[in-house]
Amino acid sequence: MSDALIQARGLAKRFGAVQAVRGIDLDVSPGEVFGFLGPNGAGKSSAMRMIACVSPRSAGSLQVLGMDPDVDGPAIRARIGVVPQQDNLDLELTVRQNLEVYGRYFGLSRSRVRARAGELLEFAQLTDREHDPVDPLSGGMKRRLTIARALVNDPELLLLDEPTTGLDPQARHLLWGRLYRLKQRGVTQLITTHYMDEAEQLCDRLVVMDRGLISAEGSPAALIERYSTREVVELRFAPDAPRPGLAELAAMAERAEELPDRILLYAADGEAALGAALRAGARPRASLVRRSSLEDVFLRLTGRSLVD
């Protein structure tokens, strides 16, 4: 008997000939914020939909809250909250009605949904818009309302599919703050994202997904430590300017990667590596030394960058 809220072994999803998820293992513990990091089409959303019990698995085993989605889908859905990639709010209803109507699907009484809607409006900072229709709200407000709606049943597990895609930086930070508060309350969260900063901000632990498989697993810090160096030098070159040879540069650092617009040097001491490169005759248009991020981990693992 495992104490994991979500446990998957060899979980796979196939749509006709397309293998969206090719067999993944997962263990998510209570209270944890767990991330799926990967580019579009990596299989994150398909994995999420299987866990949300709205998409039957093609192979493998899956337990959510100790139950099997194939058998107890509705019972699991009653205890989780789902924030889909695209808001599917009822645009013609008011902000408050969206929450109340949704709460009723979970078997809550009218008086209970009224009270709960009040709390959630407060949480989503939408109290002053409660009687407005949803349609004219900003993207960030709609997103907060979708999250509030997913909380209507006080879920033990919250699934968020790309929670901040398409939001401006201010709206993203506001939303991260709300998610952090939920974490403090002990709500287990599963988040898919293709933003490395989001994964670093929010996740205790994450898996890097690529082409339907998990390529690495760990905390953001552990992943960076294992798959990257402490610092990175970015050398930016004009599109057709001559570049030094990659092998030559790699000799000055632990590793070098070439991207269309820049060369990355991975080294424990970035300044030293940069100095060595300049002395060797590299003439970049611009250069900078920064700390390694999950983006570098992803590049290392897959040979591709996260956001094209």
Binding site: G31, D90, V101, R185, G186
Partner: protein
């Protein structure tokens, strides 16, 4: 592991509040959602669901009907009385057609309300049946208003018109379930619905016995009319309104409509499950 657990999950995160509703309650909750949505804009629907049928009644029943002498075909009643139950059935079928096409595609594609519902404990099949019951409730309520208008203009021969309303609603519900199943297969708006209205709905409303008995149709066309739910609904509604119904034909029409409804419910539940739980 218990110690680790209590550290990770702060005390107080109780079990979630949600629960799985019994099937009929889940269906009611879907209907409630449509009702709350409907309340906001019901005035606009009065035109299509009441005013338009009333205009039909006035134009064909009162106006055109003044040229028609009641006879054997009308059961000895004036044409208005003959026509009224037929229009009840036709209106139900029209409501079914409109409410089961674009709103269904919208639930999947534009407003996407079905996706929100099916992420809750409510299952895709319950979403389908809930929407179907909502459409049936709409047919019943606007039909009830229509019955009042029919009575006011002298189109009712007696209380049989109330039984006619029930028959019309059953007919509309059977048609709605089949239409919803079809709409759930439509991926893009394209011309699917327009063709459906043009080649299924309109011929059916013109030739399935609403305005004149199907015995007036060419012999080869009559069986086509007999297959349509509207013909059975019209026969049932008219027979009930005029008091000319005999047991065996009545049971036959009723059984046909019930079987169609059953097939429709099975199909629509299946198509909703296929589309919502991929």
């Amino acid at each position: 592991m218990t110690q680790g657990d209590s550290e990770r999950a702060p005390a107080g995160l109780a079990r979630a509040q949600g629960r799985v509703l019994p099937g009929w309650r889940a269906v009611l909750m879907v209907m409630e959602a449509f009702w709350i949505w409907y309340k906001r804009g019901w005035r606009a629907t009065v035109v299509s669901s009441v005013l338009q049928p009333v205009l039909f009644l006035l134009a064909f029943g009162v106006g055109f009907g003044s040229l028609v002498r009641g006879g054997v075909a009308t059961g000895g009643e004036p044409y208005l009385v003959y026509l009224a139950p037929g229009l009840l059935a036709m209106t139900a079928v029209q409501t079914a057609a409109f409410e089961s096409t674009y709103p269904v595609l919208s639930g999947f594609k534009w407003q996407q309300v079905y996706w929100g519902m099916s992420a809750s404990p409510i299952s895709p099949g319950q979403v389908a049946v809930g929407h179907l019951c909502w459409i049936a409730a709409r047919m019943l309520s606007s039909g009830a208003v229509y019955v009042l208008v029919i009575a006011l203009v002298g189109g009712a021969a007696g209380f049989g018109i109330v039984a006619a309303l029930l028959a019309a609603t059953l007919c509309g519900a059977a048609f709605s379930a089949l239409t919803m199943a079809f709409a759930a297969c439509v991926q893009h708006e394209g011309s699917a619905f327009a063709s459906y209205f043009r080649f299924v709905l309109i011929p059916m409303t013109l030739f399935a016995g609403t305005f004149f008995p199907t015995s007036q149709l060419p012999a080869w066309l009559q069986p086509v009319a007999w297959v349509t739910p509207l013909w059975h609904g019209t026969e049932l509604a008219r027979g009930a309104a005029l008091g000319t119904l005999h047991w065996w034909p009545a049971l036959g029409h009723l059984a046909y409509l019930l079987v169609l409804l059953l097939i429709g419910v099975v199909l629509v539940r299946w198509r909703f499950s296929v589309r919502l739980a991929r």
